[in-house]
């Protein structure tokens, strides 16, 4: 029974982690924190799409700047879709548009990393709390 419980807990952490990476705020929805997940999802998606609007779809992807792409890919599905659509870029543009686009999309990815780490932390805490409750119940 204990082995089953611990396997279930680690499965939950993996699913929550993958969901949290793929869909901004998805990990919170999975854990039942819908309001927190909704705010995180809207905040990260708005920042990401504002970045794409500023820099064009060409600012997302490994071709323009590899280090920024590492931060962008942390936002999960939006960055994957952006990378797949990268060949639709029309022109390079001038001024700060591309730089700001990379900054916005990169920061969106890093904020999603913050959410992912928080989801994993909450998963562990919830598991520890459940263990304490079940131990008290047995005593």
């Amino acid at each position: 029974m204990a082995a089953y419980k611990s396997r279930g807990k680690s499965d939950n952490i993996v699913i929550a982690g993958i969901l949290s990476w793929l869909i901004p705020g998805g990990g919170y929805f999975y854990l039942g924190h819908t309001r927190r997940g909704g705010i995180a999802c809207v905040g990260i998606c708005v920042l990401f799409f504002l970045g794409v609007a500023l820099g064009g779809i060409g600012s997302v992807g490994p071709n323009y700047h590899k280090l920024w792409f590492l931060a962008q890919i942390l936002s999960g599905l939006p960055a994957i879709i952006g990378t797949l659509l990268e060949h639709y870029k029309m022109s390079v543009g001038t001024g700060r548009g591309i730089d700001l686009g990379q900054l916005y999309t990169g920061v969106a990815g890093l904020l999603n990393l913050l959410c992912l780490l928080d989801v994993l932390h909450r998963c562990q805490n919830d598991g520890a709390a459940e263990a304490v409750v079940s131990k008290k119940g047995r005593n």
Partner: protein, 86 residues
Amino acid sequence: MINLATTILAGILLEPMNIPTNAASLLWALPICIGIAVVYKAVKLEDNQLSLKPFIVETALLVATIIGFLILVAVVLLIIASLAWR
């Protein structure tokens, strides 16, 4: 109607915006500050504080703090630059 919406969306998302490199372009720091504050407070606040009023107050305080420190850093850099130009 769908074609028009698709054309407008494609125009927005495909073409990069031409933002001149002038002082006014620094205002583009505001949306990113707000975004960071919103997501950070969504992560940090307790469940009972996630209602509308406390969330807005906490987020506004964080935005003000970030902008305040950005201005402070700008002033310090300006002082260093002016000293270096002498």
